[in-house]
Symmetry: C2
Subunit: 421 residues, 2 copies
């Protein structure tokens, strides 16, 4: 390397999806390694609508590791970033780019610095877990840059040390995070259950709830639950192991009624143990409760579940519809009960896969206002409306795992300087 010009910059750009747990992860048995007290299962969301794009670059001209997130420089000093960087560097291998005349040996990586630029294609601070996609993308792209030969399962154990749920974003479709037994966390990894094509009828609608409340971070929240809840141990040791088995079977068989029942129950139980924490943690608010009420009422009236709901550490609802038809009918119900504020246009109120909106016969705000009350509430006159309680909806579906973006124009860093474009 010594003889090479200091000017070269080697870059890799990757894209990683976010995921939403259907059997929840809540509680660590090791805070530093991020080892969970129970297995969890998630569905990966289509990166077309929710993903992180990360460019990582290496150059002898960089004199320190630096990172930008959503166009602002952030510190890499935190233990979580340091753990990921150290683990990836420890597995780095020789890299040769003959065209550019670059040769980096395994040993060189210990002394070379990296630049990391990361960007979420969805609004930040919306309470949509961006750290899962972020750390998955960071680890995946660094591994590619440094020619790490380990598979995504092994990489998931590294991403896990950035953010627990990030390990599940190393795969598409449905993914299980096996809690593992080893003290060093080597067997606490993500395992793909089925890919995104296995159950491609599913449609996912995310209701981003307007909220001004400051929420308890999931890191401190789950620590407090483990320390103070009298129910969490029973959940982790007795309830979840059974649900994991049932959920895997439901996913294999595309058994929506069982899937929905388990998904809703496990979300509710996660929020129950949060409430059983001292002091109690409330992530759902009245709007979240109203969304649940709307889904439960419709499911009951249909005789079999049409939609499952799940909520992470915040008030946003993630609704999983059994198929497009159910998603269409769900969206009509949601728009009826939660119309946008008068200053919001429909185009920014329903984002992502807008074809669901078209299927629902809704083209503009007048169509929203003309929606009839859902038949299951028709006795209740007037039906209640909660204008402005939801900021926007995102329509999406199960999606693929991380990918390399080979088109250099998609890189976030300048290929000459290695600085943000």
């Amino acid at each position: 390397m010594a003889e090479q010009s200091k000017k070269w910059v080697l870059m890799v750009t990757a894209q990683a999806p976010t995921n939403i747990a259907v059997i929840k992860y809540w509680g660590k048995r090791d805070e530093n390694l991020i080892l969970a007290i129970n297995d969890s299962i998630s569905v990966t969301l289509d990166p077309a609508h929710l993903c992180t794009t990360t460019t990582v670059a290496v150059s002898p001209s960089f004199n320190q590791d630096r990172m930008w997130l959503n166009r602002k420089e952030i510190s890499l000093a935190g233990g979580r970033y340091q753990n990921c960087l150290r683990e990836i560097r420890a597995r780095a291998r020789d890299v040769e780019d003959e065209k550019k005349g670059i040769k980096i040996t395994k040993k060189d990586w210990q002394n070379l610095h990296v630049h990391i630029d990361s960007y979420n294609n969805f609004p930040t601070a919306a309470g949509l877990a961006s750290s899962a996609a972020g750390f998955a993308c960071l680890v995946f792209s660094l591994a590619k840059l440094m020619n790490v030969q380990e598979d995504n399962g092994r990489l998931s154990a590294i991403a896990r040390q950035g953010s627990g749920s990030a390990c599940r974003s190393l795969f598409g479709g449905f993914v299980k995070w096996v809690m593992g037994k080893e003290e060093n966390g080597s067997d606490s990894v993500a395992v793909p259950l089925v890919d995104e094509k296995h159950w491609d009828e599913l449609v996912i609608i995310i209701a981003v709830v307007s909220s001004r409340q400051k929420e308890t971070s999931s890191t401190s929240g789950m620590r407090e639950t483990v320390e103070t809840s009298a129910l969490i141990e029973h959940r982790a040791k007795v309830v979840v192991p059974k649900r994991i088995i049932q959920m895997e079977e439901a996913i294999q068989n595309r058994d929506f009624p069982t899937f929905a029942q388990l998904t809703c129950s496990d979300s509710n139980q996660f929020h129950a143990v949060c409430m059983d924490t001292s002091p109690p943690i409330f992530y759902m608010n009245d709007t979240s409760h109203r969304v649940i009420g709307c889904v439960e009422k419709w499911n009951r009236s249909e005789g079999t579940p049409q939609v499952a709901y799940t909520f992470d550490a915040g008030p946003n609802a993630v609704l999983i519809a059994r198929n497009r038809k159910a998603a269409t009918l769900m969206l009509q119900r949601l728009l009826f009960h939660f119309p946008p504020n008068s200053d919001t246009d429909l185009d920014s109120y329903v984002i992502g896969d807008k074809s669901i909106l078209k299927d629902a016969g809704i083209q503009d705000i007048n169509d929203v206002e003309a929606l009839p009350p859902p038949p299951e509430i028709k006795d209740k006159v007037p039906a209640q409306k909660y204008k402005g309680e939801i900021s926007y909806f995102i329509c999406t579906r199960p999606g693929r795992g991380p990918v390399l973006l080979t088109d250099e124009s998609q890189a976030l860093l300048n290929p000459e300087t290695g600085l943000p474009k």
Copy 2:
């Protein structure tokens, strides 16, 4: 009896308190006898502010059992009323009133009809458990009328068959409902722990939350929890038995920090198992959460608990302050965050023991508006206010058990006709 005039009416009037559980009752092992799946402990509230007054009358001129509740006639056909009436009648004894020339033998009671008139001195439909005071008063007054010789403990087993928590209203102070083991429920009775003088520093403030939501009744709610929650059994069999022992000790020792910690944790766990029910039950709303946040923040800033909170099957907060000073400071905080609507006068906004208001230096609505933000939130500018979210506050204290009212002017029924005055 045959030779007597048909005109006589014999009456008894009694008053019974309501109670609030500090270790919660949630879940039955027998729906008809109303047998609980765990012990519970409550504090009886001062009947001066919250109680039921009931007049029961018997006369050979009555041709059916009739009841009026809050001046409206209601049906006695329900199993719960019938169970109480049958059990009391089975224990009726000879009654003789020489002055009036009345003589009723034990056997006569099976053929005599009663009139029952019951009245709550607090607003109905406010979500304040009126059935506890109501059934306690019904059973207590009927027992006196029919010269039942059993003590209040035995009577509590009858009141329990009207409404589970009613058994705890047969005593003042702190009361334990022992779940019992017998299949017939004979050992499922209330036991007085300490009377109302034992810990008379305590002050209780009830925040009645404005709510338009229809709530799940506690009868169907607890049935659904027992049938569907994966956590309720662990709560009932493992968690509550330990808490009962700790709570009894805390009450005996007037150990407020332990009392507060147990009270808050058990309220939260009750709401947690409600949320773990399928479909989930939400009794607390955003206002309830905000009251908890306000109490938790203040307690933390003081280093030791000043106030405990507990919520029953509804959004209303019951706050138990360690002493008058703490109650005064709590009320100032509550009025700061939850001022009344502009059309509400202070006199109807804080009811019950208004001397707390005087201690807080608040004489009119201007004093409420002039309240400074509590010091523990002083960094947060502007401090949040939630005008109109609370309907009113009731200031009260621990109180006595049921009593007979001997002053005939307090009877609700006309002594000549046996009909409501």
